[in-house]
Symmetry: C2
């Protein structure tokens, strides 16, 4: 299968010599698509675009883009217009859309472990479990972090980003908080 290798940003990375296998906080590919799509929409903010047009413009497969758009709509990030001449529009300014919302729309609400979010069932080590509920602190921290970054932040200076393709990532380790 794999219609376009590695998705939007290439997750095809069979082995890396890291400490452990994966990548901590692996953002789902859907979320990635979400941002790509939203960013593209931000360029003609307010305008109504169809899923098909967006798929063309982003280079992502149409069915996937459609799915993404549906989820973003449910999440309250897009306004949908049905019927002929329909499509989707971004009615909020990119500065008003947080990454947290985007991810929440595509992956569900923020919650790290099961015992964080109200499932009081089957904790096999109930009596011993020393954490019980303390992941919430972490949860909060992450949520706050995600709330602090907006779609606009991600979209900003995209030209620059295009130019710097292949750059050493000096950008990292910015903000203090």
């Amino acid at each position: 299968m794999v219609p376009f290798p590695g998705g939007a940003h290439g997750t095809a990375d069979p082995d890396r010599g890291a400490t452990a296998r994966g990548r901590m906080f692996k953002l789902s590919r859907m979320a990635d698509y979400g941002v790509v799509v939203l960013s593209r929409m931000a360029r003609d903010q307010g305008r109504v675009v169809t899923a098909y047009e967006l798929s063309e413009r982003t280079g992502l497969p149409q069915p996937t883009v459609a799915k993404t758009l549906k989820l973003l709509t449910r999440g309250g990030l897009l306004e949908s217009h049905r019927g002929t001449q329909g499509g989707y529009s971004l009615d909020r300014a990119p500065t008003e859309v947080t990454v947290s919302e985007i991810i929440a729309a595509l992956e569900g609400p923020v919650a790290l472990t099961a015992c964080v979010d109200g499932s009081d069932e089957n904790c096999a080590v109930e009596s011993l479990c020393p954490i019980r509920g303390h992941w919430e602190r972490v949860n909060e921290a992450v949520k706050d972090a995600l709330d602090s970054v907006t779609l606009a932040d991600l979209t900003a200076s995209q030209e620059e980003a295009a130019i710097n393709f292949g750059r050493p990532r000096d950008v990292a380790v910015a903000s203090d908080a």
Copy 2:
């Protein structure tokens, strides 16, 4: 299989009516184990314990605990002692161990998308991709958040937590912005 239902905190949660299926930032179960194990070790800080003892004390299966301990050791969070009378010890104070480190040891370094961490390969929508490198900001934010919570924070007032077993989750996903 499923030797002990739902792992340390119970991930058995077939369906929830949330916007999307999953749980944003699903922390891997390994990380959960890691914290459980480390917390238990923190109780007799400095003392050397065997994987077997820890498995008994936490209620988690021995092989899994062993694996977890190995990873934590590689990650530099534990000191291991081989041979008879060997075991593991926590030589840093719980206040000096960040959640970020724990997760990194068990899941790999912080990185949200592939194009964040220096892999400049196969971005299917290279020319169109408006983000290219801007996830780094998010990445940073999350990393910082994780750096700000220590093992001590998670372990603190565990008695209290035990009492609040089954509480309504007012804490979760609170904060506004």
